[in-house]
């Protein structure tokens, strides 16, 4: 029998599955948003910033909730919930999740308002709010890639 499979009890699997699924969807949604927003940086296309905004709102944002809630669920199963002896990798996870979630929310507001203004502008022009949102989402994506590494490597 696999030693690693023996380390993790079977009843943890579903919570871990939901957490990893949420994280995959979150990183995928952020990657799609970052790509669309950077490609639309110059503002000569209304479609790309709108795609970026929708990626954040309909993919990344719900996925964050799935990742976060399931993450808390498996943390409690592992006995880390409210524990003083929290490993470093879990701390990295909490910090990136909470701060990243807030930045995603701010980016959704900024890109949403920016896209709305771009819709009214003729000809289309770059929106400062969309650009700020673009930079914030890029920072969030980079932070989550660090979190993915921490969750996998589990540094002490």
């Amino acid at each position: 029998m696999s030693v690693l499979a023996a380390i993790r009890p079977d009843d943890w699997n579903f919570a871990l599955l939901l957490h990893v699924l949420g994280a995959m969807l979150l990183v995928g949604g952020l990657t799609g948003a970052v790509t669309a927003l950077w490609l639309g940086w110059r503002g000569d296309s209304r479609t790309l910033p709108r795609l970026g905004f929708k990626s954040l709102l309909f993919v990344a944002f719900p996925a964050w909730w799935l990742m976060r809630i399931a993450g808390q669920w498996i943390a409690s199963k592992e006995g880390f919930d409210g524990s003083d002896e929290e490993p470093a990798w879990l701390g990295i996870g909490y910090i990136t999740a909470e701060a990243g979630g807030l930045l995603i929310l701010i980016s959704i507001l900024l890109t949403g308002l920016g896209v709305r203004r771009m819709r009214r502008a003729e000809p289309p022009s770059a929106s400062v709010m969309v650009r700020i949102g673009t930079v914030l989402v890029t920072i969030v994506l980079a932070a989550y890639l660090v979190a993915v590494w921490a969750m996998s490597a589990k540094p002490d």
Partner: protein, 108 residues
């Protein structure tokens, strides 16, 4: 490009991990299942992307002709290609099953 790099990376690093770790063998049932699911996801994803690549080329041609703002029934049809949607759905399903296989490691 991102998809190609990601797809190949998961295969390379996954096989490397299976060889590196003493607890795993590349011929373990759940690892074989993962490789099969990876192949299904990669091929259905590749085939599913064909109509969208054609749509992109058509959109670029329309834009070059100055017809970017005109409705194009041909472009709409390519973006709503049924086979493309089914194949992409199958690819996503294969990835989900692969994730379940990685977490549960059946038979391990």
């Amino acid at each position: 490009m991102l998809v190609i790099v990601g797809t190949l990376s998961t295969l390379v690093f996954g096989i490397w991990l299976a060889i590196e770790r003493d607890e795993y063998k590349v011929w373990d049932g759940w690892i074989i299942a993962a490789l099969v699911l990876w192949a299904i996801a990669a091929e259905t994803g590749r085939r599913g992307g064909v109509p969208y690549m054609e749509a992109r080329k058509l959109a670029e041609r329309l834009a070059a002709e100055g017809r970017a703002e005109e409705p194009s029934p041909e472009l709409r049809a390519k973006l709503k290609d049924r086979n493309g949607m089914i194949l992409n759905g199958l690819s996503s399903l294969a990835v989900l099953l692969l994730l379940i296989d990685m977490i549960y490691k059946p038979g391990a």
